[in-house]
């Protein structure tokens, strides 16, 4: 790692060997991040132990916010929805992205058109994706229209206003946008796999399914880890698309932890309670953040 000239007179102090300008190069960005990320994050933890409307003084209440959360039916719905979200959104985008990557892992002009089409939604913001899908799900929109054409009128419904399907309707929209990202990650992973191993297995009589699970998948272990961590972290952060499509409604049926937190903070003004929800989100995410960091740390060696 050292581009450092091996100075003839080796000074004992490591600090002294780094020029002042370089210290400034490091410290300015570091201070910006400390001030705008780590300092606010630390504040959230202390705010979570208070009741605060943002105007007066924060009143310390100990763990009362967390006790209230445990008895708050909307919070419990949001928590449950978030679990569904991690499994459904994560599962569908990983399965879809992996399947598409395996299918499209070959050269060809048509193949690159397919690939571009699949990851095109990535450039559309989550908020705008939400609007796109509001059009799709509108009562007189294309989805109900297509169902009508196919003679499946009984399946038509008010997708975003029907509490039983609204969460899944939003989830599908989010998957539509995520699959391309996962596909790109797996395509890169597949590029790094050894094709000759697969050929050897084919010669030995392994079918495509066996070759995939026994030969290709083990080689994708590194990518799988990253995809897993990224997906869970993304799922816990999800806010924009739900906010754009339903704002957590109808009757809080599509509320996720992030949307409920935002609502409590900026609509209702319960800043202490909102911070407590944020701390829960953090607690759920931290394990996966560490997993991801540990992996990055290993590659830094």
């Amino acid at each position: 790692m050292s581009a450092q000239p091996s100075t003839a007179t080796r000074r004992p102090n490591r600090f002294a060997r780094v020029p002042l300008l370089v210290w400034a190069f490091l410290l300015v960005p570091l201070v910006v991040e400390l001030f705008w990320v780590f300092w606010p994050a630390a504040n959230s933890f202390s705010l979570a132990l208070t009741r605060w409307d943002g105007i007066g003084l924060a009143e310390p209440v100990g763990l009362q916010n967390f006790r209230d959360l445990a008895a708050d039916p909307i919070f419990l719905t949001a928590l449950q929805n978030n679990v569904i979200w991690v499994l459904g959104f994560g599962g569908l985008s990983v399965v879809g992205g992996l399947a598409l990557a395996v299918t499209l892992n070959k050269p060809g002009p048509m193949v690159s058109i397919y690939r571009s089409a699949i990851y095109l939604p990535m450039v559309v913001s989550l908020a705008v994706s939400g609007l796109f899908w509001r059009v799709m799900y509108a009562p007189d929109g294309p989805i109900n229209g297509t169902l009508g054409l196919l003679g499946l009128e009984h399946l038509e419904r008010q997708w975003l206003a029907d509490p039983t399907v609204a969460l899944w309707a939003v989830l599908i929209a989010a998957v539509w946008r995520q699959v391309g990202y996962i596909m790109v990650l797996y395509l890169a992973g597949l590029k790094g796999t050894d094709g000759s191993l697969e050929e050897a297995a084919a010669v030995d009589g392994a079918n495509a399914w066996q070759r995939f699970w026994r030969i290709v998948m083990p080689q994708l272990r590194g990518v799988n880890m990253v995809v897993f961590a990224v997906t869970v972290i993304d799922s816990l952060r999800t806010f924009d698309i739900v906010w754009a499509m339903t704002r957590g409604g109808p009757y809080n049926e599509t509320q996720l932890l992030s949307t409920y937190m935002f609502q409590q903070a900026f609509t209702t003004g319960n800043l202490g309670y909102a911070s407590a929800i944020a701390v829960v989100i953090f607690a759920l995410a931290i394990g996966f953040i560490i997993t991801y960091l540990a992996r990055q740390a290993r590659t830094e060696d």
Partner: protein
């Protein structure tokens, strides 16, 4: 570019080093089934974009009369015109572009400083610093929202675009630094030795050697950061109150409230919002894809 999109680390070295069995690689089968499967999937994937386009170019009466799902029987750019003027999409697009340009430039400048210091100098605890910075970017933004909102108020930049830029820079820096560090570390030592013999100081080396050589990774990060910052909603909603200052994402959600039944206006606004990032995507597709891989596929 190679440092940006390295081969997957998944394949164990032992496996890779084993001599390949003497087999002819089979020619890729020209099977029609691939296309039979992928053409419908592709069309299905593009259908939301296509339908929004259909809605945007239809007239209000056509939509009201025949429903959102119908194919266009009219052509009208009223939706675009209304969205841009009355809907304030033009103004909010300007806000978005301003915030994005400032935030991307500032983030990449600051993180290339930090990456240079961490990758080429013997900074104590450099690895810890680097990973801490990356960790900051991985935190769920929710844990920052309430304090960030009150900090911007407290230092007098509440409800300004400056606040939005500063927050975006602070939150993004960790990731960009991590990626640039990986790249700068891989630059050959000889270049630095040569420059040092020519009498260049640390600042000169950064400016004349490191920045030009890092152009590929800076381009990839710029493409990625542009879409992230332009597409952001949650930070904008956290620090901004006045509608006139909203970037396009937040403005569109208001548009949806104000023009609830005028779907052609909402659809036109949504398409306009997608255009700038789509341009970045098509112009810099290679950089964009390698940008997606950075950090994720090491």
């Amino acid at each position: 570019m190679s440092a940006l999109a390295p081969p997957a680390a998944g394949a164990p070295a032992a496996v890779r080093d084993r001599p390949a069995p003497r087999l002819r690689r089979p020619k890729p089968a020209r099977s029609p089934w691939l296309h039979v499967a992928m053409v419908p999937v592709t069309l299905l994937w593009l259908s939301p974009i296509v339908f929004v386009l259909f809605v945007a170019i239809r007239s209000y009466d056509d939509i009201a009369g025949r429903g959102l799902g119908a194919f266009p029987a009219s052509f009208s750019l009223d939706g675009f015109a209304t969205a841009l003027t009355e809907g304030g999409v033009l103004r909010s697009l300007g806000n978005s572009v301003l915030v994005t340009v400032c935030a991307v430039v500032a983030s990449l400048a600051l993180s290339s400083f930090a990456a240079y210091a961490l990758s080429r100098f013997d900074i104590p605890f450099r690895r810890t610093i680097l990973l801490t910075m990356l960790a900051g970017n991985l935190l769920p933004p929710q844990i920052l929202l309430v304090p960030v909102s009150s900090i911007t108020e407290a230092i007098g930049i509440g409800d300004t675009l400056t606040a939005l830029v500063v927050v975006q820079v602070g939150f993004g820096i960790g990731f960009y630094t991590f990626v640039l560090h990986g790249f700068m570390r891989s630059l050959p030592n000889e270049v630095f030795e040569a420059a040092r013999l020519d009498g260049a100081g640390p600042g000169g080396i950064f400016w004349r050697i490191v920045l030009p050589l890092s152009r590929p990774s800076l381009a990839a990060l710029a493409a990625l950061a542009t879409t992230w910052i332009f597409n952001d909603l949650i930070w904008a909603m956290t620090v901004l109150r006045t509608e006139a200052k909203f970037p396009i994402t937040a403005a569109l959600l208001n548009l949806q409230g104000g023009f609830a039944s005028a779907w052609n206006v909402v659809a036109a606004g949504a398409l306009i919002a997608a255009v700038p990032t789509a341009i970045v995507f098509f112009l810099f597709q290679k950089q964009f894809v390698s940008g997606l891989l950075v950090g994720a596929n090491k």
